[in-house]
Symmetry: C2
Subunit: 360 residues, 2 copies
C-alpha cells in the first residue's frame, strides 16, 4: 500500500493511525462480535463510544458548562437552515459577515426564514481580505451575527474572533475546527462539518449555548431542533454512528498529539513554510492579504496558468493528490489540515521547487 499526500479540501486526509484502528476493529469492536456500523445506537457499546467522543471534544475545546455538544446530520449546509430556524426567534433578523463562498450560501439560506442581512462582505475585493470591523453594519436587534472563521475556497481566515458586543456570535467553523484553541465562551453557536479536521463526512458538530435553545421556529424539522436533540443526547433519531465513532478516534489522536495547542503549533509551522516558499517565488503567488491568510487552505496560482494541467498531472504522479483549486478561484489549492503531516508540506514544496526549475 502506497498512501499519497492528499491535499483535498474536504473530505480530507485522516490520520493514518485513526484509519488503522478503525480497520483493525471493523468486524469486531472490542470483543462485541460486531462492527460499530452494526450496533444499536441505544446499546451500551455505542453509547460508550458516543459519550467518550463527546467528553473528549469538550476536553479538547475546553467547552464550558452551559453549552451543549451535538452530533447531527446534514452538514454545515444543513446548519445554514438550522441556525436561523433555531435562533432567529421573534426578532427575525440576523447579520452575516461574508468573506467567501460559504458565507454567501449561509446568508442566502437564512433569507428563507427571516431578515438575513449581509452586514459586511469582501466580495468587492474578490474575497482576498476581511472587511474592516469598523465598516460592519451590525443591527442592535439582530438575533445573532454569523461569520465563517475560515473560508475553504478562497483561503481566507480571521486572525481572531471578532467582537460583536452582546449579540450572540455564530461561526461556521467547518474548516478550522480543532485546528487551534478557541474560546467557546465567546460564541453562541459553533458548528462544523467533520470532514476537514474531525472525521469523515456525514456528521456535523454543533456547540450551542444552552440559553439560546428552546426558541426554535415552529416549522423546524425535529432533526435540526437543537433543544430536542440536546435533550435526546443527539439521538432523537438514529445518529450517523460510524462517523461519530471516527470523530471519536480522531479526537483521541489529537489529544495524544498535543491537543489543539499541538495542532495549532504544527499547523502554523506548515502554513508558514508554504506561504514563505510561495512569497519567495515569482512563479507562484497567493492573492490573499497576508493578515487574512488561511492556515488550512492555501490557494496558489501559477504565473502562467497554461501550465496548471501539467502541474496537477505531475503532482499526482509524485503522490501529491487533489491539488486542483476550486473553479471559482482557479489554479491550485493545498489543504493542509491537522492530519497532513509536515512531511507532506515538505514534499509539496520540493515538488513545487522542481516544477519551477523545469518550467520557470
Amino acid at each position: 500500500m502506497a498512501r499519497v499526500y492528499n491535499f483535498s479540501a474536504g473530505p480530507g486526509t485522516l490520520p493514518v493511525e485513526v484509519l488503522e484502528t478503525a480497520q483493525a476493529d471493523l468486524l469486531d469492536w472490542h470483543g462485541t462480535g460486531m462492527s460499530v456500523m452494526e450496533m444499536s445506537h441505544r446499546g451500551d457499546a455505542f453509547v460508550s463510544i458516543a459519550e467518550k467522543a463527546t467528553a473528549d471534544l469538550r476536553k479538547l475545546l475546553d467547552v464550558p458548562e452551559g453549552y451543549s455538544v451535538l452530533f447531527l446530520q446534514g452538514g454545515a449546509a444543513g446548519q445554514f437552515a438550522g441556525v436561523p430556524l433555531n435562533l432567529m426567534g421573534d426578532a427575525g433578523r440576523a447579520d452575516y459577515i461574508v468573506t467567501g463562498n460559504w458565507g454567501k450560501k449561509a446568508v442566502k439560506e437564512a433569507g428563507k426564514y427571516g431578515d438575513a442581512q449581509v452586514a459586511a462582505t469582501g466580495e468587492a475585493d474578490a474575497f482576498t481580505r476581511i472587511p474592516p470591523r469598523a465598516d460592519w453594519q451590525l443591527r442592535d436587534d439582530a438575533a445573532y451575527v454569523h461569520y465563517t472563521p475560515n473560508e475553504t475556497i478562497q483561503g481566507v481566515e480571521f486572525p481572531e474572533v471578532p467582537d460583536v458586543g452582546d449579540t450572540p456570535l455564530v461561526a461556521d467553523m467547518s474548516s478550522s475546527f480543532l485546528s487551534q484553541p478557541v474560546d467557546v465562551s465567546k460564541f453562541g453557536v459553533i458548528y462544523a462539518g467533520a470532514q476537514k479536521n474531525a472525521g469523515p463526512a456525514g456528521v456535523t458538530m454543533v456547540i450551542v449555548r444552552d440559553e439560546l435553545m428552546g426558541r426554535a421556529n415552529a416549522q423546524t424539522p425535529m432533526v435540526l431542533d437543537y433543544k430536542q436533540q440536546a435533550d435526546a443526547d443527539s439521538m432523537l433519531n438514529t445518529p450517523p454512528c460510524f462517523a461519530w465513532y471516527m470523530c471519536g478516534l480522531t479526537f483521541e489522536w489529537i489529544l495524544a498529539n498535543g491537543g489543539v495547542e499541538g495542532m495549532a503549533e504544527r499547523n502554523a509551522r506548515k502554513a508558514r513554510k508554504l506561504y514563505d516558499f510561495i512569497d519567495g517565488s515569482d512563479f507562484y503567488r497567493n492573492p490573499v492579504a497576508p493578515e487574512a491568510r488561511s492556515r488550512m487552505n492555501v490557494p496558489f496560482l501559477l504565473a502562467d496558468d497554461s501550465l496548471d494541467k501539467t502541474f496537477l498531472a505531475q503532482a499526482e504522479e509524485a503522490g501529491l493528490s487533489t491539488l486542483k483549486g476550486h473553479r471559482s478561484v482557479g489554479g491550485m489549492r493545498a489543504s493542509i489540515y491537522n492530519a497532513m503531516p509536515e512531511a507532506g508540506v515538505d514534499a509539496l514544496i520540493d515538488f513545487m521547487r522542481g516544477f519551477e526549475k523545469d518550467n520557470g
Copy 2:
C-alpha cells in the same frame, strides 16, 4: 474474532463479506492511496463509487425512468419533514395511515407544515393489525397518502401495496427496503434509512417521481429539497460518502445473492421458521395478526415475563445479541434483516427451544 448473531432492529447486522471488503480497502481504495473517507466527493474516484451504487440500486429495484434516486442525510425522521415540505404544495393536506410508532411520529412532524390527518390507525388494537382498507378516510384533495410498509417496533407489515387511487403514495420503507421486490411505479416517493437492509446509519435513500419535484415549500432547507438535490446528483453539499460507499457494497452483495428476489425468498423462509416455532409453543407468543406479521422484525413475549431478563442474558452468552424488545412493546424482538443468515435464525430457535425446556 467471534462474530455474534446480531438481532438489532437498527443499526443492524451487515453482510460479513461487505465488512471484509471495506476493511481491506480502508486505507487504500483501489490503489488511490487513500480511504474512501478521505476522498473529495467531486473527484473521479468517489464519483465512480456514487454512480455505481446509484445504478445498482436502480437495477435492484428496477426503478423506472421518470424517478430520481437520492442519497441524503438526516434519516427517515428527516424525511418526516422532507416529505411534507416537498410535496404538500398548495393543497396543504396529506393523509397518513398509522400502523405503529414510526407512522405516529411521521404524521406529527407533518402537522408542522400543513393539514396532516390520520386517515386510519391501528392504535386501538395496540397496532397488532392493519386497519381495513375500507375504513380509511382518504381525502380526494390530499397531496399524498403516507404509510409505513413495515413497522419496526410492533413488527407489523403490509402484505401488499395499498391502492389509494390517483393520490401519490409515499412510503417510509426503512425497515423493509430491499428485502423483497417492489413495484416502484406505484409510489410517488419511497424513502428509507439505510441502517436496516442497505448499509450503515447516516444515509437515507429517497426515490421520487420526477413530476412531484419542484414544488417545495419556500422554507424547505436546501439539503432536504428533492429538486435541488436531484439536480446536484445528491451533492448539493458534501454527502455522507462512506455510508454511501457501504450501501454500494451492500447492493453488490444483494445482486450477487439473487437480488431482491433472492432476499425475499430467504427472508420468507427465515420468518416462517421463527413464527412457526413461536406459534407451536405455549411458552412464547407473538401478538400480531398472522396476515400482518413482519418478515423483518419478530417481536415475541414470554408467557412469564419475569423470565425476560434471564432469557436475554443467556441469549447474549450464547452469541445471540440485542434481542430486547422495544420498551413500548416489552419482551423480545428478533430483527432478521437481509444480512441475518438463516443459520442465525436456526441458532435462535435452538436457543429458544432449550430455554423453554429449562424454564417451561
